[in-house]
């Protein structure tokens, strides 16, 4: 899983003040200041920021609460519910999106860190009415069972094929090992990614 660099500096203290409850440590947490979180922040006192972010090719200006995670922004405020929350603590990969083309856990990135960057979600994969070859291969190989991890698997696979268009089966497993699937459709996910890669080279 690639790490993303925070562009906008939100101090950990300010961040924790906003979130109230303790969050799991983000994969790309900014500089940590040793402070205990303060309690009792009312909704209207929550720090907010205006960000500019390109989502699935469309540039948007959005006012976000500084405590929002990226997945919270996508799901609750932009209506992009294809991205799922499986753990909300950087363990499962269900929330994987592409941030400037690289797969990241959107539960472990703050929305404000996406300022000035581009985000791609599962909703942006199909282009001009046609499915991405990965999506078609996922269907053909019955890769999704319950489907809850599928968006994350797709985005990780997309990121993988971008940096390595012809991966081996082991490289697929390694590239997607941060995406858990409890239905354990792993064999089919790997087959599907290899098939999509093959199709793409023709």
């Amino acid at each position: 899983m690639s790490k993303s660099k925070p562009k906008k500096k939100i101090s950990r203290r300010k961040f924790l003040k906003g979130t109230g409850a303790a969050l799991a440590v983000a994969t790309a947490a900014p500089k940590i200041e040793a402070q205990t979180p303060a309690a009792g922040v009312a909704t209207d006192a929550v720090p907010r920021s205006m960000i500019r972010v390109t989502v699935n090719g469309t540039e948007r200006r959005i006012e976000v609460e500084d405590r929002w995670t990226l997945v919270e922004l996508l799901r609750d405020h932009l209506g992009l519910t294809g991205t799922k929350i499986g753990c909300d603590r950087g363990e499962c990969g269900a929330c994987t999106v592409l941030l400037d083309g690289k797969p990241v856990y959107s539960c472990s990135n703050l929305a404000v860190w996406a300022d000035g960057r581009s985000v791609e979600t599962v909703e942006g994969l199909a282009q001009n009415g046609g499915l991405d070859p990965l999506q078609q291969a996922f269907i053909d190989h019955d890769a999704p069972q319950c489907g809850f991890c599928t968006s994350g698997q797709l985005m990780s696979a997309k990121g993988l094929l971008t940096r390595n268009p012809q991966p081996s089966a082991d490289e697929v497993r390694a590239g997607m090992t941060g995406n858990l699937c409890r239905c354990a459709g792993y064999n089919h996910y790997v087959e599907a990614v290899l098939a999509a890669a093959k199709g793409g080279s023709r």
């Binding site: 209207d44 269907i139 489907g147 390694a174 239905c183």
Partner: protein, 723 residues
């Protein structure tokens, strides 16, 4: 894509052909709507405060600071919410029997006092957004009187153990008696006297969590006195009747909606406390409420597979024929009884003298309940490890021992509707090249990385039962199938469409399925017990026949007219027993320096009757096998013995399988049609996991020559056994 089907069934037109799911497009484009994707205007968000103690009495709860937070609307605790959560109750295994729930003494409330495990709900908050709700949860002050606790079932039965319930820690049965579950056939004492050799051993299995990807969430919406619950449930019909019963409202005033759900594996059976809490919060707040569990909530607040301790005593003749099997077992149920706590497996052996005594015991761990083949993977691990050990000690090839002693009639008495267990074993042994991979001398490989092969087999219930289906035909030639299934990942929706298309003799594209909504769909048993295809699939065939009769009588509908066929069959087996069969063969490589186990080959042979959709059936088998490997090797919800705290409540800690852990699984179907069920289809979903754990454990024995008697078989245990 290795896939072999035998051709022992008559080919059909639509059924039996690998077909992508009819809703696959929704699943790969993010359009499939799961519970938590739904939002309502003015909807509140809820969070739960859970007990930090394994056992404590609540002296006082002060919610004043929490209520003072701007945006907090409602707080529920045991003081202002006394709903009995009946699902599972203490009546274990008879969850759906309302009569039994009336007499059971040990009631489980949504909020209990005392609390009996870390993670038990203490309070619930509804607020304008999730951040405020989390904030409020932190501000609730609870004064606990901390009580002693006990984690292991055998400890809990000791005289001086802390009492989790006033009646003691042996869970009461449906007659309110503290008795173990006992089953006997023949006379084990005589059986042991007639034996030439007797073997005794103890096996234990861990608490493993369902760990489905979708954490529980629920949205409750009241319109007047009608409640609509959007909730991930494996059975909308049972969830509705359970919820209505627990809230004391008529079933027709409850609507359950579950369209897509992110897996359950038994974790989302029946109704859940989340459903009741959300409904009560929404009622109190006068607004729709969405409750979201965190991943940790889901691990410690729902349920997993019950941990067991199994003592076996087995008697055999000198030529390796079973004469007696005795099991004394202990199951850790957590603080409440949500399922039987049974330990299954003995029935797969042919043996004249059997005794099984199993104690379902309360402990201060999180509650145990349904998880893919509830009592079997852990029971099969115990009995099939035991028998594998007996085979070695009798200097027999385990495959030969199994062929000599496996079930031929159910409990040596009732005939099976068909019998292909021997075919499964012989076919698997041949494909796997058992004779080449199995080491007659366990642990004999030179060098630090040792290979070994293991086998386990199963026969798994495939009973028939009641269900319903309605099919409507309109003038445009569209057939709409109404079935009360939910699609938890097994592909029920697609299965029903395939069966309907076959039975109607129309292309699949002409069939649409309406599912997952109790206001629109008739009763279905729900996705539990591997029954949906058998029961609801059969109802779909019957509804199609009814519709065809109408077409024959009235002709095709024209204009705005429609024709409707429906069926509510409740077929029976005429005194026979119906089972799916299977045999799993696995090769492992064990690094004896590191204790690391790698599965290097896996062949799973299954007779699940006729395969409706080979594409999705294969996914089911592979998924079950991989879960079984995880249970064998690393999954464990570990508790700290000193303070009763769960230490591994999360995906990483619990170590579920990842891409890198997953070997390629070879699946072989031996198809059969016994004349029952939809075109002869039998159960699949659970049975694939059932023998997998034992097969892996037996392969490890063959590789290293040490019998691993405690799950999971982690590196430290392997190194310890080799030291």
């Amino acid at each position: 894509m290795r896939q072999q089907n035998s051709t022992s069934v008559t080919p059909l037109k639509t059924v039996g052909h690998a077909t992508p799911r009819i809703d696959a497009l929704e699943r790969v484009t993010g359009k499939a709507t799961y519970t938590n994707d739904i939002q309502f205007p003015g909807m509140l968000y809820a969070r739960i405060l859970r007990s930090p103690h394994p056992h404590a009495r609540i002296r006082r709860i002060d919610v004043s600071k929490a209520l003072a937070v701007p945006g907090v609307k409602t707080i529920l605790t045991h003081e202002n919410c006394q709903v009995v959560w009946g699902a599972g109750g203490i009546s274990g295994g008879l969850q759906y029997n309302d009569d039994i729930k009336k007499i059971t003494r040990q009631r489980r409330y949504v909020f209990n006092n005392p609390v009996r495990f870390v993670g038990e709900p203490v309070a619930a908050v509804a607020a304008v957004n999730r951040h405020v709700a989390e904030e409020a949860v932190r501000l609730i002050q609870v004064d606990y009187e901390v009580l002693g606790f006990v984690l292991e079932p055998e400890e809990a039965l000791k005289q001086d153990a802390v009492k989790i319930w006033p009646e003691g820690n042996l869970s009461l049965n449906t007659q309110n008696q503290a008795q173990p579950m006992t089953a006997r056939r023949g006379d084990v004492t005589e059986g042991f006297q007639a034996s030439d050799q007797i073997f005794e051993e103890r096996y234990s299995t861990a608490f493993v969590h369902n760990a489905q990807m979708e954490p529980r969430s629920c949205i409750a919406h009241w319109a007047g006195d009608k409640l609509t619950l959007y909730t991930p449930t494996q059975g909308i019909s049972n969830c509705r009747s359970d919820t209505a019963r627990d809230l004391g409202i008529p079933p027709e005033k409850v609507q359950i909606v579950c369209q897509y759900m992110g897996g359950g594996f038994g974790n989302k059976n029946q109704n859940q406390d989340a459903d009741l809490i959300t409904a009560m919060l929404a009622k109190e707040a006068g607004a729709p409420v969405k409750l979201e569990f965190t991943r940790k909530d889901d691990f410690i607040g729902v349920h997993g597979r019950w941990p067991t301790v199994q003592y076996y005593k087995v008697g055999v003749t000198r030529d390796g024929l079973l004469k007696a099997i005795q099991l004394r077992g202990y199951s850790g149920m957590g603080g409440y009884r949500k399922n039987t706590g049974s330990i299954g497996g003995i029935d797969i052996y042919q043996c004249p003298n059997i005794e099984s005594v199993i104690y379902p015991v309360y402990t201060n761990k999180t509650v145990s309940g349904n998880f893919r083949g509830p009592e079997y993977p852990q029971g099969f691990y115990g009995i099939e490890s035991m028998m594998d050990d007996v085979a070695y000690k009798m200097k027999m090839d385990p495959v030969e021992f199994i062929l000599k002693n496996m079930t031929r009639k159910y409990r040596d008495e009732l005939p099976y509707t068909n019998y292909s267990l021997e075919d499964c074993i012989r076919r698997g042994a041949e494909t796997f090249e058992w004779k080449n991979r199995w080491r007659p001398q366990p642990g004999s490989d030179p060098g630090p990385v040792k290979h070994g092969a293991g086998i386990a087999f199963m026969a798994f219930r495939s009973a028939l039962g009641r269900s319903n289906a309605v099919i409507r035909l309109d003038a445009k030639g569209k057939y709409t199938v109404f079935v009360g299934v939910t699609d938890i990942g097994a592909g029920a929706k697609t299965t029903m469409a395939l069966i309907a298309a076959e039975a109607l003799g129309v292309p699949l594209a002409n069939v649409e399925v309406v599912w997952g909504d109790t206001d629109r769909c008739p009763y279905s048993v729900g996705e539990s017990g591997s029954r949906t295809t058998i029961q609801t699939g059969y109802a779909v065939i019957q509804a199609a026949e009814a519709l065809k009769r109408q077409i024959a009588e009235k002709g095709l509908p024209a204009g705005e007219n429609v024709l409707v066929g429906s069926a509510s069959p409740n077929p029976n087996l005429e005194g026979k027993v119906r089972a799916a069969y299977g045999a799993h063969f696995v090769e492992v490589a064990v690094d004896t320096d590191l204790g690391h186990v790698r599965v290097t080959k896996y062949v799973a042979v299954h007779d699940s009757g006729r395969i409706i959709n080979p594409l999705t059936a294969r996914s089911q088998i592979k998924g079950g096998v991989l879960m079984g490997i995880g249970m064998a090797l690393h999954e464990d919800l570990i508790y700290d013995r000193r303070n009763g705290q769960p230490l591994t409540a999360g995906f990483y800690g619990d170590r579920i399988m990842t891409h890198r852990d997953a070997p390629d699984i070879e699946v072989i179907f031996i198809e059969s049609d016994d004349g029952f069920g939809p075109y002869g289809a039998k159960s699949i979903g659970e049975s694939s996991k059932v023998p997998a754990v034992a097969a892996v454990a037996n392969a490890i024995f063959n590789a290293i020559g040490r019998r691993m008697k405690d799950l999971p078989i982690t590196r430290d245990k392997i190194l310890g056994a080799l030291a």
